[in-house]
């Protein structure tokens, strides 16, 4: 039987990959992918702890549902922003977006 620790290590691996993507990538869509990966590692943590640490409690699962819905809403808004930026500038390189720089 796989243990709590193994699930958490998978979650940490996904989180680290997401952090790497957030730092290294310049394409706005890749940044959205990174954020989705990080969010999913967090949701995995919620379900894992709900399974292992509590006696027949579903609170962790309920919050996992909330987190999934939140991530979906965030993805929708981010994609709309990316579409808008692409329409204005024909590119979504975040290092080129300096129009709003003060």
């Amino acid at each position: 039987m796989e243990s709590l620790l193994q699930y958490l290590i998978v979650s940490v691996a996904l989180f680290a990959i997401g952090v790497y993507g957030l730092i290294a990538k310049r394409n706005a869509l890749r940044l959205l992918f990174s954020i989705e990966i990080i969010g999913n590692s967090a949701v995995l943590n919620l379900v894992v702890f709900s399974r292992y640490l509590s006696v027949a409690s579903v609170t962790g699962r309920v919050f996992a549902l909330f987190a999934i819905a939140l991530l979906a809403a965030e993805a929708a808004v981010a994609l709309a922003l990316i579409l808008g930026a692409y329409r204005l500038r024909k590119d979504i390189d975040i290092l080129e977006m300096k129009d709003m720089k003060g």
Binding site: M1, E2, S3, Q6, Y7, L8, I9, V10, V12, A13, L14, I17, G18, V19, Y20, G21, L22, I23, A24, R26, N27, L29, R30, F33, S34, E36, I37, N40, V43, L44, V47, V48, S50, R51, Y52, S54, V55, A56, V58, T59, R61, V62, A64, L65, F66, I68, A69, L70, A72, A73, E74, A75, A76, V77, L79, A80, L81, L83, Y86, K90
Partner: protein, 164 residues
């Protein structure tokens, strides 16, 4: 059997997450992200939470992944196939490794390894009961947020007539 499924799912999750970020062609990256989301749903089934797994598949693979793939097809440029090499890649790898090492050492040195599976399986009904009776405020706020984000996304993505 469960052990084997866990190993396969772990390898698939990590490798498809890396591929989502590193695939040259960004459409393949989007498909690889969808595969990662499905493996997370597989983890949920292993963790005895089939309701969350179904929710994940319906919301992510059914809605978000399709949305992402269509957006990628709309905004794709050929010049992304050869991204400029910057120093940021090295910084990203180093920071990612530091994060993984720090959290990994923290986990290995904690007492979490001795936790054994305790809970008996829970029914769908309990999830519904807790959702409605205990967290109904959160549910309502979430509904409002989803509606607001939908309207916001439509407004942002709408083609403006005067502009073009």
């Amino acid at each position: 059997m469960v052990e084997f499924a866990f190993i396969v799912l772990s390898i698939m999750a990590v490798s498809s997450a890396i591929l989502a970020l590193e695939a040259k062609e960004i459409v393949y990256g989007a498909i690889s992200l969808a595969i990662m989301l499905m493996t997370i749903a597989g983890f949920f089934i292993l963790l005895d939470a089939p309701f969350v797994a179904m929710f994940q598949i319906i919301v992510y693979v059914g809605a978000v992944a399709v949305l992402i793939i269509f957006t990628v097809m709309l905004v794709r440029r050929d010049k992304w196939l050869k991204p400029p090499v910057t120093g940021l890649t090295g910084v990203g790898i180093i920071v990612g490794l530091i994060v993984a090492l720090a959290f990994g050492l923290l986990l290995v040195n904690s007492t979490l390894g001795s936790v054994v599976v305790s809970s008996e399986s829970v029914s769908f009904m309990q999830i519904g009961v807790q959702l409605i009776f205990e967290y109904w405020v959160v549910l309502e706020v979430l509904a409002l947020l989803l509606a607001a984000s939908l309207i916001g996304a439509l407004t942002l993505a709408k083609k403006e007539k005067g502009n073009k």
